[in-house]
Symmetry: C2
Subunit: 709 residues, 2 copies
């Protein structure tokens, strides 16, 4: 198996391709409950496989028929002339378990259970599904479903599915596969893709996931050398560990994953309850996990297909830099707007190159977007000349050309396409996209030349941005740090604030600098060490309410003032509490004008400890402006995360204020993530709120903390 | 002319339809620079009109030919047998002015100048365009262009355009018209629509807008009884007044306007310079103007068409309430997610109705989204039964049905479509949308039944939301208040802070309550009147730095304290400045823990004074969380605006805090808008920053203000 292996040297070794068959590989297939009617559940798979010339042997099983759709039928599993690799089960739910046992006994590898009436219909069904699982385990037979629309692999002509979609279309060749919990969604995407001339030769829908889940299908898709892009549809996640394994494997083998996950809104409601809840909102955690790998999320079927289609071009630039060429100034402006919205840079063309373009066409716009105007239709060589001049600068990793309907008309295509092709062939590492309107055949010709073709230029820009995300992800090393778990004796019960702060301090998250002085000179030295202003407090187990006796002095600004106040504090204690045992004077750095940050950790039931960063006040609670990442991660990752909050400008300095020490925040955030990972068996959640960072000053300090065990 | 006139009784009287011809109405048309070659600029219009059987008379003008494309040619304008209604000019730029004069002399109504080489190519071209304008004025001939792709009206077979798009497609019947500054964009949309089976029979592209602009075309489109939806593409706005007139007229005649305006990104850069600049950012103002009318903005060609198509169904529910019915649970979840994202309510079905649905199909999901499962394919009557049960409750104003590819297959369509049609026919006021995949003919049949059809359910949800916005806008009365301008003598020069605050106070924007007391008793009464705590300040023209002599006392909490402090302040003044002339003691309400708001006004060069509201601190500057509206507007409109900021929750009370007095803020915001409108000839900008509103307390106070004249 030839698989392109990325730069990472930690590639998980895949099983040799021949060692185990992939889910959809079958030399023979039995249909239990086979029907003569090609529109019935037990009839459609046979009909489809006959029409698509399934390369293996088909065995209909039906005790009441001699032949089914022209094939010899068998009365039962035992009567089959060989053990089928795969069996489709399409009988009433009550009979499924017996059929599964019969197949298991014969050694069939996989049963695709199309029958419904299991866990999706209540308690009784759930129990029947449990029985299926027990039977499958007993005989070592794998199960897809029940209540699944099945799978198809058009390359083999294998259709273990009863979807009516194939009444409309057959699959086309291509390198996109779909793994989906929803049959309806997967086949909707298939039809939509087919309508656009995009091939999806392979699709696995998992239904109730009694055994095989989407993650397992994904892993087999990574193993499939003809599959380049994996499209995933999820409603829930039965096996998060296998899912992240699949994502990791896909990234290692440079196979992009495009994910739709629905159910955000219900989760959104839960998340709204409180900000502690919201930081753990499953959907945000899921998003964070995707960001660790080469997986991008789509929010509509169109976007899902747009990205998968673009990703199937196998060009993944490691940085975003879009060059735009148009036949219309207006389209260039539109594209610039959207690129800016999406944070997709469009660098201005180098001056020398601008000059060259102006020489070629005096009234062209040459900065980027470049407008070669409708003149390119009279003078098609301009297309190659302009594109080559732009790409020669090395400034652009992707190109979007807007040629509207013009490029779709036969007379213009004949002259324009050869020129465009020249440019593409010279720059194989660039991502070339065209926005044009044409008949399907015309589009296919531009695609064969190496272009991705979109009708809507805005959708093209969004897909280009997604490819940039994938390219950057392929380049990036694994974000999670290795770590060892530990058990802290001090964490047997939920600690109080002081204990929590001490634990975090031990983990490297410094509190506000403070220390106890036993004489005025020491107090002065401490204050100098911390920096002014400081706060001074009388310390005594016998004085409960320091403020009331004047035992707390703020804004102490010099060593002289420290000395003076040291005496004053002792005097006040003596005046107001003459019998109190004085243990010293606390000198603490006074943190004024700090930016308040929040760091948190929540032990997610699916993905383990997940850390959160946001700004204090309304930012987390009202604006939900937070970033999340699984623990533990490095300070570099932490910094990237911190700079990804929407209000990062506040940390970087606004209204003339200098920046806070973002590196210090990042280091602490990383340390918190390590602490959380190490203690994940003990700690339920951590909230460090606030962490104080002062504009223009070094460091940051934990001012309050809560650890829940 | 039958035009549906909304509830408003302030409908502007349109000219009787017969009084003036619309731009595209012509009984005869001349082509100056006519060509025998049907692919040349002067040839394409003739070729198109011959192919589409133009209903009037075509007069090619070309001194070198006897006939052109089989028609008799004329050597010059004078030789024409009648005055053409419209003339297309397709000659070299240097000859255009003479041709225009010739046509003007004969009394031609409109010249469509396809020729390029005018203001778009620099100074010389600009001057040539000025000459055109002078000639047009002299003879009273109207000009479309120059440098335009022209216009077409397929209903007449009139094609004053040289677009190559008609090599690919002819227009279809429909009720959508396009008015566009960009020819390429308009024809791209036309092709995209045609690809989807959406008819755009009428399109006007305005090029350089030497005379006729998009707004004028829009007004004629409102006057056209066959046009229901007006799609507009803009890059700039040459005549804002006419544009708002067109929007107003369209709203009065219940004709929705869908607008694409590009150039946001450049403006975004300007806006980022400072927040005062950002509140006037043209694009935000433009957005605010659209929101006053029944106009929605689209951000991509697909969205533009989606909304225009949906709007052409002529159903505009006045409130949003979406009912969803699916054959797939997954699609229902996806739709719910997106509806929540878009703030489109999906009310839960009433319990009685839920029970009815459960009785009809025990395993259906019945809350909304309603899932009638694939069972609807075996039992098609469920479709009508489910939809009718949902709509009978009166809970839903729009319906989205997800039927995937199933509804597209012939066998299923035959059974399902009649059932769906039954439901539609019973509820003519509801907006019915289907998400399905099918061949174009099949889609057309569902459309003929009254459904809008989308492939992607997410795009359907977005379009439904846009229709809700239109429906609400049609219902809403005009947002602008009538007002009279006035001239304030005190506003001849930029006032200082105190003067500015006094002017605003006169306009009804109260400052922090404060007054001068001349004895302790009066001070106490004032303090009681304002409410505690108060601030007390010694007043004397001779004491510059009050604080330094202890002349400012904060946190005065009782009448007794006021009395005591009154004496104390006089004593301190006597001690520190014995010769100072004491004019009294200022007693001011002390505003603690207030939410800081910002109100502003900027006199926009296009749209006059525009008012802005946002929260203080980072909200305006970093998060750009502001709302804008042209001045003046009512307190009701002001309240709606204020509640539309993203952080409105802060005003409504977060973290257990009570709400601020939003009605008071709204009243002040409205008063500021009236002040700005009245003084618009004098005032350049107003910034009231901050306006203080305390959670749980009545009222709000101007704490600082700046007026620029």
């Amino acid at each position: 198996m030839e698989i392109y292996v990325g730069k990472s040297d930690t590639v998980t070794n895949l099983q040799p391709e021949t060692s185990t068959k992939k889910l959809w590989e079958a030399d023979s297939i039995a249909i239990i409950g086979a029907s003569n009617d090609p529109l019935r559940i037990g009839g459609r798979p046979i009909s489809y496989m006959l029409q698509r010339n399934y390369k293996g042997r088909i065995y209909p099983v039906n005790p009441k028929q001699e032949t089914i759709q022209g094939l010899k039928a068998y009365p039962n599993v035992d009567a089959l002339p060989e053990t089928p690799d795969i069996a489709i089960i399409a009988v009433a739910s009550g009979m499924v378990n017996q059929m599964l046992a019969d197949l298991g006994k014969r050694g069939t590898r996989l049963a695709v259970i199309l029958s419904a009436g299991f866990s999706e219909v209540g308690e009784e069904g759930k129990q029947m599904q449990e029985e299926l699982i027990a039977t499958a385990k007993k005989y070592g037979i794998r199960v897809l479903g029940p209540n699944t629309l099945g799978l198809y692999d058009d390359r083999q002509g294998l259709f273990s599915t009863f979807s009516s979609a194939f009444e409309l279309y057959w699959p086309q060749p291509g390198s996109i596969a779909i793994a989906s919990q929803s049959g309806a969604f997967a086949l909707h995407i298939f039809c939509s893709a087919r309508n656009r001339g995009i091939g999806i030769p392979l699709c696995v829908t998992t239904g109730n996931e009694a055994d095989i889940n989407v993650a397992e299908a994904m892993i087999d898709m990574v193993r499939d050398p003809e599959i380049q892009v994996i499209g995933v549809y999820l409603e829930g996640l039965s096996d998060p560990e296998k899912f992240t394994e699949a994502l990791k494997l896909a990234k290692q083998h440079r196979k992009p994953v495009v994910v739709m996950k629905t159910g955000r809104s219900a989760i959104g409601q839960v998340a709204a309850q409180s900000h502690t809840a919201s930081i753990a909102g499953d959907d945000l955690v899921f998003d964070a996990v995707l960001k660790e790998y080469a997986a991008v999320r789509a929010y509509s079927p169109d976007e899902f297909l747009d990205i998968a289609y673009m990703a199937s071009k196998k060009v993944y630039p490691e940085r975003d830099a879009l060059g735009v060429i148009t036949v219309s100034g207006g389209a260039g402006i539109l594209i610039s707007d959207v690129a800016e919205d999406m944070n997709l840079p469009m660098p201005e063309l180098e001056e020398g190159a601008q000059k060259q373009l102006k020489e070629a066409l005096s009234f062209a716009a040459v900065k980027n977007p470049v407008d070669c105007t409708a003149q390119v239709i009279n003078q098609p060589a301009l297309a190659d000349q302009f594109l080559s001049t732009m790409l020669e600068t090395g400034q652009y990793t992707s190109i979007l050309g807007f040629f509207a309907h013009a490029a779709g008309t036969a007379s213009i295509e004949a002259k324009l396409r050869p020129e465009l092709r020249k440019a593409v062939s010279k720059y194989p590492d660039a991502l070339f996209t065209l926005s044009l309107i044409a008949e399907k055949d015309t589009i296919a010709r531009y695609e064969a030349d190496g272009f991705a073709v979109f009708e809507d230029p805005v959708r093209a820009v969004r897909a280009i941005k997604a490819i940039g995300t994938l390219g950057a992800a392929f380049k990036k090393p694994d974000a999670l740090l290795p770590f060892e778990k530990k058990t802290l004796d001090t964490l047997k019960t939920t600690p109080d604030e002081a204990q929590a702060k001490r634990l975090l301090e031990e983990a490297g998250l410094q509190g506000v600098p403070e220390a106890v002085a036993n004489d005025a000179g020491q107090a002065g030295r401490l204050a100098e060490q911390f920096g002014f202003p400081v706060v001074m407090k009388i310390l005594s187990p016998d004085i409960k309410h320091k403020s009331e006796i004047g035992g707390v002095i703020l804004n102490v600004n010099s060593v002289a003032e420290v000395h003076e106040n040291y005496g004053l504090l002792l005097q006040r204690a003596a005046d107001h509490a003459p019998s109190a045992n004085i243990t010293g004077v606390l000198v603490a750095k006074q943190i004024n004008n700090a930016v308040e940050c929040i760091m948190g950790v929540k032990n997610d039931p699916s993905f383990g400890p997940v850390a959160m960063f946001g700004l204090g006040g309304i930012h987390v609670e009202v604006l939900k402006d937070v970033v999340l990442h699984r623990c533990p991660f490095s300070p570099e990752t932490a910094k990237e995360l911190i700079l990804n909050i929407k209000s990062a400008a506040i940390l970087q300095g606004v209204r003339g204020k200098p920046a806070v020490d973002i590196d210090a925040l990042a280091e602490k955030f990383s340390r918190l993530s390590i602490f959380a990972a190490q203690t994940q068996d003990q700690v339920k959640s951590v909230e460090v709120n606030p962490v104080l960072a002062v504009p223009g000053e070094k460091g940051c300090y934990v001012a309050d903390a809560l650890i829940e065990v």
